[in-house]
């Protein structure tokens, strides 16, 4: 196989001159490759972080370079919930319900200090970190994080997705 030998586990090595129209790879690798390049976000914009999330979608930062430009306002069509902002206890149950409605596989990015830990709101009204109600994959630091930071978090999530044992997970779910 040609290509990057360090990443043979997940990367697809392909040389048209040698292999013609045939690509040989592992099922996990190809499925994860599909998944990680089309992580459609559920934009859970709850506060000022949502403004940076919107900026990440605009042409200067252009989240579509990573296949995540399709902001789906329907949980049924989204893969990653980006919790951008302060989660109050009043919103917490709605957020949990939307997460529950998302189809597997699904991931969560906690964007910014509030979503990660409650941030500066040590208060009776604010959930102290969205990881208390949903499993979080990536925490993005900042108040609010710059779009670059969100994109870095997205790339790290892509790394995480590309290492998942997808077929094993499917078998486990089926069993």
């Amino acid at each position: 196989m040609q290509g990057n030998t360090a990443n043979t586990k997940t990367e697809v090595g392909y040389n048209t001159k040698i292999e013609g129209d045939v690509i040989v790879t592992r099922a996990d690798a190809v499925l994860n490759w599909f998944r990680k390049n089309s992580l459609w976000p559920m934009p859970m914009g709850l506060a000022c972080c949502a403004i940076e999330l919107m900026a990440a979608g605009n042409s200067r930062f252009d989240i579509s370079r990573f296949g995540s430009e399709v902001m789906r306002f329907s949980p049924r069509q989204s893969d990653v919930m980006i919790v951008a902002g302060t989660v109050t206890y009043k919103m917490a149950l709605a957020l949990k319900r939307i997460y529950d409605q998302m189809a597997e596989p699904k991931w969560v990015i906690a964007m910014g200090a509030c979503a990660s830990t409650g941030g500066m709101y040590r208060s009776y009204a604010v959930l102290q970190g969205v990881d208390r109600i949903v499993p979080v994959d990536i925490y993005v630091a900042g108040c609010p994080p710059r779009p670059e930071a969100l994109l870095d978090g997205l790339m790290r999530l892509q790394d995480k997705v590309s290492k998942e044992p997808t077929i094993e997970n499917q078998k486990r779910v089926a069993a």
Binding site: R122, S123, Y124
Partner: protein, 194 residues
């Protein structure tokens, strides 16, 4: 005619209004009997042209009696005068007449006071909580409510947990020598006494 004259007119019309006081150009009028608030406000709107209710707020006086003070800010868009009306409600009563029949905007202001302070408004058209959810058992802006909050749970509606204060609350010290000492730091009551 200034706000002080309008306040004096209101005082002539009703008993139980204290001498209006002026501070930095703002006039405050104290109404002794909260039950009178409805006719006083109606007169202020109809006769004195206070057609705009800016705000209603509430104060918790903690240990003092009466415990709650309700503050009305009245403004006239024609005469551009602001009048502050204050009245007190004892904790045992915790109720006074609504003014939402006079200014419709009072509806939500009064709901907020009910939600945060637990003072009820009689004859209010829709006295529900406005910020917290229906069934939340506390009134968070009362002085005896801890900053971190309390545990509560209503299944399928909401839950709350006390927030970790990490030794706080953190408070800034404006007017310190340098910005390092003015930064927010943990300040316990003991340290402040020293």
């Amino acid at each position: 005619m200034g706000a002080i004259d309008l306040a004096n007119k209101l005082r002539q019309r009703f008993d139980g209004l204290a001498e209006p006081s002026e501070f930095r150009g703002e006039v405050t009028l104290v109404l002794n009997d909260a039950e009178q608030i409805e006719p006083v406000c109606r007169y202020a709107r109809d006769q004195l042209k206070f057609d705009f209710l800016v705000d209603i707020t509430s104060v918790d006086n903690d240990e003092e009696t009466p415990r709650f003070t309700i503050v009305y800010h009245l403004y006239g868009l024609e005469h551009h005068c602001l009048l502050r009306l204050k009245t007190s409600v004892a904790e045992e009563v915790s109720e006074l007449p609504t003014v939402s029949g006079i200014w419709r905007t009072a509806d939500w202001h009064e709901r907020e006071i009910y939600d945060m302070m637990g003072v009820r408004f009689r004859d209010h058209p829709d006295l529900r909580r406005i910020i917290m959810w229906e069934g939340y058992p506390f009134f968070p802006l009362r002085k005896d409510f801890p900053l971190a909050g309390k545990h509560s749970e209503i299944p399928e509606v909401a839950f709350t947990e006390p927030a970790p204060m990490e030794g706080g609350p953190f408070a800034t010290s404006p007017g310190e020598q340098d910005s390092m000492s003015a930064e927010p730091r943990v300040k316990t009551p003991d340290e402040e006494d020293e």
